[in-house]
Symmetry: C2
């Protein structure tokens, strides 16, 4: 059970980015110092945002089947590098034998470390309609706002869609527009609450905003969990 399980493929590039972060965050000088990871990168799960908005098929059966697969193999923790999927976090966590780390809880905990931030939340329309980021921020008393649903959110949607389509430069251009609008609206920090956004942000224009990366915060929590259990050093490795 001493393995990390990744419920991935939502989308596939975001899963690769998350795995890269796990590798970078693990102290290692050779292969055998790293953490064992099983990845189910299964991209045919129906679109999460559309389902939350009532315009698409229900992804929950596929999400549960995929978390069953990880548990069947025997993983000791599950990470889901897809924010919108966390609309169904209660059902997934209830189903999984292994604990499931909540991406938004990790991310909001990182924001809480930035006192007096005025935070904007960038996420899919579905994740925003679900409201789990807003709840987590309210629980910690952190002031926040979301882009307005026409112009501001339009750029966020375009960013996510472009990265999912493999056009990262178009995603970066859309993100630059969204960040400029958010900075003008008075934000000091931004939650990149969709795992495609950090990929677009790699080449983003300079911004005064503090960018909080949900994928990176999930990776930090996942690596910390696994290192604490000693999964990088199984007894049988010399």
């Amino acid at each position: 059970m001493s393995r990390i399980g990744i419920l991935g493929g939502m989308g596939p590039s975001a899963t690769v980015d998350f795995m890269d972060k796990l590798v970078q965050l693990t102290p290692a000088t050779r292969d055998q110092d790293h953490l064992p990871v099983i990845v189910a990168s299964l991209p045919h799960v129906p679109d999460r945002s559309s389902a939350i908005l009532g315009t698409g098929a229900d992804p929950l059966p596929a999400l549960l089947a995929n978390v069953d697969l990880l548990n069947h193999i025997g993983v000791g923790v599950v990470a889901i590098p897809c924010n919108s999927s966390h609309h169904w976090y209660p059902q997934i966590a209830e189903r999984s034998r292994a604990p499931v780390i909540h991406i938004a809880q990790c991310c909001v905990a990182a924001v809480a470390a930035t006192p007096r931030a005025r935070v904007a939340v960038l996420a899919t329309r579905g994740a925003l309609a679900s409201g789990f980021y807003q709840s987590a921020l309210r629980e910690r008393g952190i002031a926040f706002f979301v882009p307005d649903s026409t112009t501001g959110q339009h750029d966020v949607d375009a960013c996510i869609r472009a990265v999912k389509a493999g056009d990262v430069p178009a995603g970066t251009a859309a993100l630059d527009r969204a960040l400029a609008a958010i900075a003008a609206a008075g934000a000091t920090a931004v939650i990149m609450g969709c795992t495609e956004i950090p990929i677009a942000a790699r080449a983003a224009a300079p911004t005064p905003l503090t960018l909080v990366d949900s994928s990176l915060e999930l990776a930090r929590a996942t690596v910390a969990f696994a290192l604490d259990k000693g999964w990088n050093r199984p007894a049988w490795v010399s």
Copy 2:
């Protein structure tokens, strides 16, 4: 069974690089156009090169256990983004219900498309001692040489070791030295026959050599196999 299985973690960065190539090579405009992949990134397999050279533990039991795990989940093809592991290709392919794509065969087929190349093979000392690249090249009548075992191979070893330790710039510097020596020795093409080398090559100095990337060639063959089977479009996806 309509899933790609990756026997990975050898090393973990090379597995991430390979997954990234699978994603990039798949024609897709949305998550659901991508290929389903199960990755066993299990880095505690003993060092392959040392074992071939008689100075380290036998990795075969771990390799077989990990390919069993992929078959147990139900994958339809197995890719191993680690060249040195292919010393045990006969045993792994014999054990696996799913076909196993041979990285060196893919890579040498790509070299064969470059007529009159004079090829140098960069790989671990173990992979070179095993000789599977040399056999594949001889079968196709392709002239080749390997770096001399002191100065030239020393830089190849340093490159691989640095990437495995997470120090890509040091890996690139060592690779630049190796490529300069190989070009001076009369090569026109280089097989990057270790999956850490392409990571170091991303920032390599300009070179007249044609760089043939074993990881990319394996990814091309894997994506072609899966697209041919229609795994990107399962019947139940709208």
